[in-house]
């Protein structure tokens, strides 16, 4: 392009970021809250809040599984942990030919089913951030992969474009209009730059088996199963023999597995062909005590209880992939690490938001009233995404508390509320002036968030008055974060709503640029 390398990269940065900016914003925000996916899921099922971790959970749960699914070909049991003190179990449904899974949440202390309201919980935000909803799964994943590639290009071209990375490292000049948006964009981009590069690249890599399958075509002649078996070590269990044999006690197996890992804890158990002579038990190590997500498994004979095999170390490429996916998920390292990931994720969200706002502000600044439909479209989409998504996400939490517990299709209706709220928020800026649209949406989002702890107090027994003194931080944290974000949105609404007239009378002869220009 004309004007040299840096200018062409600036052009590329602007357009690769703007074209997919709204998708990226939604992916960043829903992805960032997904660091607290387990906590959100827990918060959304108040019926389970009394559950406590029990040391003999595995035995209690397995006893229950014999009654729940005696003839299933496999059980999957996620053991309770500090973060999620419940046993989540799945099993292949024999009546559906073994191809469909059924699920239950069990009390680790008794093994009994815990009836909880039907909800997707935090999993909704989590799956939304890589495949959307109400859309074929593969479409969603492809769209998001392509947008992530745009993001990678936008980051790289942005680095090249940003001349004064070190000189402006600490620079944020508030209340200077366009200048402030640029500063805000650059500061959130630069301060968390390693995170932005990491999260984007590893996000693409997470879906690489779908977007870049060509290597399997040439090296494995397109045999995906052979490739997966080599990389992930998936073995198909043998079919049931029909000859009954009781399952050996599982606690010694857990101990043996834990010894094999040098003391690390088991996190999941799968039992194949339970109650049959062919039964096998696989014990998986918890996945939050190391960077890589590659599983570490010890397999046992289900009848004798003898250790049969243990997964060895991974080769370098498989381990690299495991670490990349692990870095993306960010489940390791405990609460402080999660808080750091969350903060960086928020900075990424703000980076995207300020980027797309900056484009609209620049257009208004340059063209004023001559700005055309394109600028208006960007402005409407900005409000719909940045103002609307927090409203939709908080409405989802409100629906969780307000929809009747026994309602049919309850979890689907929570999701409907999310999309209805977002749909209205997307229409609303078409009917209002740009400034009013911002103030109203930010204000509504702030009100919904600030009132969420109050709603929680009215509808449940695990509100701040109880969770704070009890030190139940997983539950209290969500209420507190809602208050924090509510305050931030309220500040933003107030800031945008500052009367324009005052600024017109400012002493400076040069026209002051407002953060969001009036029509």
């Amino acid at each position: 392009m004309k004007g040299g390398f840096r200018q062409s990269m600036a052009w590329l940065h602007t357009w690769s970021g703007l074209l997919v900016g709204w998708v990226l914003f939604a992916v960043f925000l829903t992805g960032t809250v997904s660091y607290f996916r387990a906590e959100i899921s827990f918060w959304m099922r108040p019926e389970l809040h009394a559950a406590r971790v029990a040391p003999d959970a595995a035995e209690n749960v397995l006893r229950r599984m014999h009654a729940l699914a005696p003839s299933s070909s496999s059980w999957i049991i996620n053991l309770p942990s500090e973060r999620d003190p419940l046993a989540r179990v799945f099993w292949r449904d024999p009546s559906a030919g073994g191809n469909r899974f059924r699920r239950a949440i069990l009390d680790p202390a008794t093994g009994e089913d815990l009836p909880a309201r039907e909800t997707l919980g935090g999993d909704f935000f989590y799956t939304f951030h890589y495949q959307f909803h109400h859309m074929p799964v593969l479409w969603g994943r492809w769209i998001i992969s392509v947008c992530a590639m745009f993001m990678l290009v936008a980051i790289l071209s942005g680095i090249v474009t940003h001349r004064r990375i070190f000189a402006d490292f600490f620079t944020f000049r508030p209340r200077k209009g366009q200048r402030s948006w640029l500063d805000g964009h650059a500061v959130t981009a630069v301060l968390a730059l390693p995170y932005h590069l990491m999260i984007t690249y590893t996000g693409i890599v997470t879906l690489m088996l779908m977007t870049m399958p060509w290597g399997v075509q040439v090296a494995f002649k397109g045999d995906n199963q052979a490739f997966s078996a080599t990389v992930f070590g998936l073995e198909r269990p043998s079919p049931r023999s029909g000859q009954a044999a009781p399952l050996a006690p599982v606690m010694p197996m857990l101990d043996a597995a834990s010894r094999h890992w040098g003391g690390a804890q088991p996190g999941r158990i799968t039992v194949n062909n339970p109650g049959d002579v062919t039964s096998t038990v696989q014990v998986f190590r918890v996945d939050d005590d190391r960077l890589s997500v590659n599983r570490q498994v010890v397999s046992f004979n289900g009848v004798t209880g003898a250790m049969v095999s243990a997964s060895g170390g991974n080769r370098p490429a498989a381990e690299t992939r495991g670490v990349m996916v692990g870095l993306h998920r960010g489940v390791f390292g405990g609460g402080a690490m999660r808080a750091l990931f969350f903060l960086s994720g928020l900075m990424g969200t703000v980076m995207v938001a300020t980027g797309i706002i900056l484009w609209a502000v620049k257009q208004r600044q340059k063209l004023g009233a001559r700005a055309g439909a394109g600028t208006r479209l960007v402005e409407v989409l900005n409000v719909a995404a940045i103002g609307g998504l927090p409203i939709a996400m908080t409405s989802y939490l409100w629906a969780n508390r307000l929809l009747p517990v026994e309602m049919a299709q309850r979890s689907a209706w929570e999701v409907h509320v999310f999309f209805i709220a977002w749909g209205i928020a997307a229409m609303h800026p078409l009917l209002r002036t740009h400034r009013r649209a911002w103030v109203e949406q930010l204000g509504l989002g702030a009100a919904l968030l600030l009132l969420l702890p109050a709603l929680n107090a009215v509808t449940t027994h695990s509100h701040l008055g109880i969770t704070l003194p009890a030190g139940q931080w997983a539950l209290a944290g969500l209420d507190l974060l809602a208050l924090g974000f509510g305050a931030a949105l309220a500040f933003a609404a107030w800031h945008v709503g500052q009367p324009v007239a005052e600024k017109r009378h400012a002493r400076h002869p040069a026209r002051q640029v407002n953060p969001v220009p009036a029509e």
Binding site: M1, F5, S8, M9, A10, W11, L12, T14, S16, M149, L152, V153, L156, S157, V160, Y201, I204, V205, M208, L209, M212, W214, G215, V216, Q217, V218, A219, F220, K221, F227, T230, V231, R315, P316, A317, A318, T320, R321, M324, Q363
Partner: protein, 99 residues
């Protein structure tokens, strides 16, 4: 950074269109060639395949940036073809043209 009104607007837009096609399709093609070529490197095949997959997106990002940094749309395409040729040759030798 926006497209200015100018007598060269039509030509410029055609150039941007051509570069965009080069960046998206050409870039993906080059990344795929790189992924396949790396997949055939000696060593355990699954490892080679994984290295190829993981590296291919860096190739694509570089290709996209090249397409918009190059002096002209023609140069953008040429710059993709030059690294593509040895990769195709390497694949041809290892897989045999038909496969």
């Amino acid at each position: 950074m926006t497209i200015h009104l100018s007598p060269h607007r039509a030509g410029r837009n055609a150039g941007i269109g051509s570069r965009s096609v080069a960046a998206i399709l050409g870039g993906y093609g080059l990344a795929s060639l790189a992924a396949m070529s790396l997949a055939l490197l000696p060593g355990p095949p699954a490892e080679a395949v994984l290295w190829g997959m993981m590296a291919s997106y860096a190739v694509m990002a570089a290709a996209v940036m090249w397409c918009f940094a190059a002096g002209s749309a023609l140069r953008a395409w040429t710059g993709l073809l030059i690294p593509a040729l040895p990769l195709v040759a390497w694949l041809w030798i290892n897989v045999g043209g038909g496969a």
